[in-house]
Every structure is written in structure tokens, then in C-alpha cells.
């Protein structure tokens, strides 16, 4: 009886795995186990009617009971094997996604082309409502990524964030909040002092065309440095969450949620864009001060 209860629990746990989409019946597993057991498969197939009718268990000889016991062990082993394989696949998927985040956030920018820098901050391919809703230096705020994790931990009962992990999370939120503010400051400094450095500024005393171009390049280089810092901070947060803070299952849940929410917000932005409600001003009385 105790063993049956264990098995039942095992089955429940198995179903809680997020990527374990199909529920597998005993019969499937037995077939699976039987085929894997190789030479003994015929014997197992032959035993099948006995095993299915438990009322007849008492009539079986010790040898038959032993066979049955082995058969059950084999099917459990098969289930475990399958679980392990799916876990391994899960690991691979998580690694793959993490490296996708890495290449996305460390995306090499080959030139200081103004268009490239501008596109990082204000990507033309993203609808303006999505940008306004979430964008900080061109992408999600690192603190928002942690907010999502906080919410997952609070609302998702299968999330197994330990107390110490929760403490780490609050600590991390505070630290990342500060790092975000530092980046904000650096960016604001560039924006506030560009009036001293841009070549067309009344304060900029550039002598030649080349000098003018160089000064703009330098400024854009500095802005690019700030954007890179923001990107690295985003990746740092994702890496910490996925590698240090969460176990495998929770990481998978996190990635699913992050992707789903990004998608929902993107859809919202696209829908808003389709409505074409552009900023407008009264025709008369404005715009003609001269």
C-alpha cells in the first residue's frame, strides 16, 4: 500500500513539471518498459493478464510474484529514465535561452552610426506604446524583471523559492535599483552636458569639420557605453535569477512567464499602433507665431 501511495505521489509530482505536457498512462509505460527490457519482453507480455487482475495475486507462486516485482521495478525505472531525460532536455532548453539572452543583450554594435545608437534607445520596430510602457534605455528595466520574479514567487504555488532565496531576491532588488539609478545619472550627465560638446553648440569651439565629426562620435561612444551598461545589467539579472536563485523547474516557469508577458505587452502595443491615434493639435491659433 505504501508503495502505491509513493507511486501516486510520484505521478502527481511528475504532472507538476511544466514541460511535461502529456500524461503517460501505466499501460504506455509498461509497454515502454517491456520493449526496453529486451529479451524478457515476451515473458512480460505473457504475464500481463495476471498483473492486471490484482485479486488473483494471492494465487501466484513466489516465482511469479518475483517476476511481477521485477516488472514493476522496470516500469518505475522507465518512468524515472523518462523524467531524467526530460529534465536534461529542460536544462538544455534553459541553457539555450540564457545564451539567447546573452547574445541579445551583448549584441555587438559594429559602428557608432547615429542610426544604430538611436535604434538601441528607440527601436523603430517596437510600437511606441510598448516602448512607453516598459522601456528603459531601449528594453525592460532590470528591476521589472525582478518584479516579475517576485510576483511569480508570490502567486504561483508550485514555485519553491526558499526563505533564504526570498531574502536574496529582496536584497538583489535593492541593489539593482541602485545600479539602475547610477546608469540613469550617467546618461543624464551626457544629456545635460551635450550642449557643451556638440559641434553646433554656441559653446563648442571646433576648428574643423573632422573635429566636429570626432566630437559627435565621442559623445555617441559615451552614450553607447551607457547603453551597454544597461544591457549588461539586464543580462546579469537574468543570469543570477536563472542560474543562482531558481531551481530548474522554477527557471522554466520564469522563462515561460517572461516570454508570455513580453508577448502580451507587445501585442498590446501593436494593437494600439493600428488605431493610429497620433498626437494632434488645433489647426488655428497655434503654430504660427511669426
Amino acid at each position: 500500500m505504501a508503495r502505491t501511495a509513493d507511486m501516486a505521489r510520484f505521478e502527481e509530482n511528475g504532472l507538476e513539471e511544466p514541460n511535461y505536457e502529456e500524461s503517460v498512462s501505466w499501460d504506455d509505460l509498461e509497454r515502454d518498459a517491456a520493449s526496453k527490457a529486451g529479451g524478457s519482453s515476451e515473458r512480460l507480455q505473457a504475464r500481463r493478464p495476471h498483473q492486471q487482475d490484482s485479486s488473483r495475486k494471492g494465487d501466484e507462486s513466489p516465482g511469479e510474484l518475483y517476476e511481477l516485482w521485477r516488472q514493476e521495478q522496470n516500469s518505475i525505472a522507465a518512468r524515472l529514465d523518462k523524467e531524467l531525460k526530460s529534465r536534461w532536455e529542460l536544462d538544455e532548453l534553459i541553457e539555450e535561452q540564457l545564451s539567447r539572452y546573452q547574445s541579445h543583450y551583448y549584441k555587438a554594435m559594429v559602428s557608432t552610426s547615429l542610426q544604430d545608437v538611436s535604434n538601441l534607445l528607440m527601436p523603430m520596430w517596437l510600437p511606441p506604446h510598448e516602448l512607453a510602457a516598459v522601456s528603459w534605455l531601449g528594453d525592460w528595466r532590470p528591476t521589472s524583471i525582478l518584479d516579475l520574479l517576485r510576483i511569480l514567487a508570490a502567486h504561483n504555488p508550485s514555485f519553491s523559492l526558499s526563505e533564504s532565496s526570498e531574502r536574496v531576491l529582496s536584497q538583489l532588488l535593492r541593489e539593482i535599483r541602485i545600479e539602475e539609478a547610477v546608469i540613469d545619472e550617467e546618461y543624464a550627465e551626457i544629456q545635460a552636458t551635450c550642449v557643451l560638446h556638440l559641434p553646433f553648440s554656441p559653446l563648442c569651439n571646433v576648428q574643423s569639420h573632422e573635429e566636429a565629426l570626432r566630437s559627435v562620435q565621442k559623445l555617441f561612444g559615451n552614450i553607447h557605453k551607457v547603453i551597454s551598461k544597461a544591457q549588461r545589467l539586464r543580462y546579469k539579472v537574468l543570469e543570477l535569477v536563472m542560474k543562482k536563485l531558481l531551481n530548474q523547474t522554477d527557471t522554466a516557469e520564469f522563462v515561460v512567464a517572461f516570454a508570455g508577458i513580453q508577448d502580451a505587452i507587445h501585442q498590446f502595443g501593436e494593437q494600439k499602433k493600428l488605431k493610429k491615434l497620433y498626437p494632434a493639435v488645433p489647426l488655428k491659433g497655434l503654430g504660427s507665431s511669426s
Binding site: Y106, A108, M109, S111, Q115, S118, N119, L121, M124, P127, H129, L131, A132, A133, R141, S144, D147, L148, I151, H155, P157, D184, A188, I190, Q191, A192, T193, C194, V195, P199, F200, S201, P202, N205, H209, L213, Q217, F220, G221, H224, A257, G260, I261, A264, I265, F268, K272, K275, L277, Y278, P279, A280, V281, P282, L283, L286, G287, S288, S289, S290
Partner: protein, 281 residues
């Protein structure tokens, strides 16, 4: 509804069209006007009325931005596609950073009051101007210095608040959407449906409505700040100083629109390729 008053009843035009005209006026009218009254021996009243005129033009821009901003349109104003790629990286909540204004003013003063070694240099720059104008920034009054400190002080209180509000608005939007998403995902899992129920568009809309209203308020406050700093600076400075400040500001704003310069930057950027590969980890 916010759009019904203007866009339905009265004839309207797109904000970007207004902006193009406004910018053209700034380039072709305001800047030459100021230059003219600064370099010639224009009478005080002409100078004064020109300063007034240009100040009104700048104020008009911020007031028009406010009129154009509502929860539907504020994203376009915060990320204006009508600004070129030279401008966009310098936009703070949709326009110039307010600190830029006092930095411009302070630099005018500092440049004229540095060690005497630089005197030659500064005189060379402004030799075609009347003496009154050439020496406008020399030895600024204590009153002006105090007033600049005050303006800066107010700004340094307000800018962090604006950024903080922006951060809070975005974070609570993401939190709201996340909560909705997680609970509908949970509900979907209980029903054992294979794919999670996607969060309803209506619930994102609902969260966005709250956020966009706050963004409008932040945007309007940011513009009010920029506008009042410009007005305060002109109010605190003398006629000549005010005219020079506005001339500098207009020159800076107009400078972003130089298409030839813009093209050259792009060409050079592509030729010189990587800014520095060591920046890329």
C-alpha cells in the same frame, strides 16, 4: 474621452506637422532675428521685442506639446519619430534635458570670467558685436548668480522626482500585467489545458490606461519645468544676456536639424566602423 474635444470637433493637424513648421520658424525667423538685433546697433526696444517674440515661440512649443498629450498619444511624444537620429539619444522625456539650460547659461558666464589668458580668445569670437553685448557676461551680478542657483536647485529637486515617477509607473504596469498573466496561467494549468491561457488583451489595456495617464502627467510636468526654466532664465538675466542665451539655445536646437552635417556623421560612422571593439564584451 480626451481626443473628442479637439480631434473630432475642430480642425486639427498632426503634431509632427506643427513641429516641422515650428522648427522652420525657429531656423528661418527666430535665430536670424536674434542675431540681427545682437550684432547691429539695434535699439533696446527692438531687442526687447525680439527677445519676447522668440521666447513666445519657445513657450508655444511646450504649450502645444501639452495640448497634444493624452493617454493615447503620449507614447508618440515620448518617442518622437519626427526627431532625427542625432537628436533622439539626447531626449529626456521627449525633449531636451532641463539641466542643459542652466549648463548653457553657466558656461556663457564661466567662459567670460575665466583667467585672463582666455580673454583674447573670447574677444575674437565676438568681435563683431557691440561692446555691451561682448561684455554681457563679464562679472555677473550677485543677484543673477543667486537666481541661477535657485533655478538649479528647483530643477535638481524636480528632475529626480520625474525620473522616479517614470520608474514607478513602468514598474507597476509590468507588475500588474505580470499578476494577471500569472493568475490566468495558473487557472489554465488547473484546467490542465496544454497551452496557458494568454493574458487577455483587456487586462493589459486596463493596466496600460493607468500607466499612460501617469505618463501624460509626467510629460506635462517635464515640459512645464523646461518652459519655466527658460522663462526664469530670461527673466533673471539682463536684456542682452537674455538675448544671448536665447540665441545660443536656438542655435543649439537648430543645429540638430543640419541635414548635411547629419549625413556626414553617418558616412564617417560607417567608414570608421567600430567605435571600439573593446566596448563589446
Amino acid at each position: 474621452m480626451p481626443f473628442s474635444l479637439f480631434s473630432r470637433k475642430k480642425p486639427t493637424r498632426r503634431f509632427n506637422e506643427f513641429y516641422a513648421d515650428w522648427s522652420k520658424t525657429l531656423t528661418e525667423n527666430c535665430l536670424p532675428l536674434l542675431r540681427q538685433s545682437l550684432s547691429s546697433a539695434a535699439s533696446a526696444s527692438v531687442l526687447s521685442s525680439n527677445v519676447d517674440h522668440v521666447l513666445r515661440h519657445l513657450v508655444l512649443y511646450y504649450e502645444t506639446l501639452d495640448l497634444a498629450a493624452d493617454p493615447n498619444t503620449v507614447p508618440y511624444l515620448l518617442f518622437p519619430s519626427w526627431r532625427n537620429s542625432l537628436e533622439t539619444p539626447f531626449l529626456f522625456l521627449g525633449d531636451i534635458h532641463p539641466y542643459l539650460l542652466t549648463n548653457l547659461l553657466r558656461s556663457f558666464i564661466d567662459r567670460e570670467n575665466q583667467d585672463s589668458d582666455d580673454d583674447e580668445n573670447s574677444l575674437r569670437l565676438i568681435q563683431d558685436q557691440p561692446l555691451k553685448i561682448a561684455t554681457a557676461w563679464k562679472d555677473p551680478s550677485d543677484e543673477l548668480v543667486t537666481r541661477i542657483d535657485q533655478i538649479e536647485c528647483t530643477m535638481r529637486l524636480m528632475v529626480p522626482v520625474l525620473m522616479d515617477r517614470m520608474r514607478k509607473a513602468q514598474r507597476s504596469f509590468v507588475s500588474r500585467v505580470s499578476e494577471n498573466w500569472v493568475s490566468s496561467y495558473q487557472a489554465g494549468k488547473k484546467k490542465k489545458t496544454v497551452t496557458a491561457v494568454p493574458v487577455s488583451a483587456a487586462s493589459v489595456d486596463e493596466a496600460a490606461k493607468v500607466e499612460m495617464e501617469e505618463l501624460v502627467s509626467i510629460f506635462v510636468d517635464a515640459n512645464r519645468l523646461r518652459k519655466s526654466v527658460i522663462m526664469d532664465i530670461v527673466g533673471a538675466t539682463s536684456e542682452h544676456q537674455g538675448a544671448l542665451f536665447l540665441e545660443g539655445l536656438c542655435q543649439f536646437l537648430v543645429g540638430f536639424k543640419d541635414q548635411l552635417l547629419l549625413q556626414d556623421f553617418e558616412v564617417v560612422a560607417h567608414m570608421h566602423c567600430p567605435i571600439d571593439s573593446r566596448l563589446i564584451p
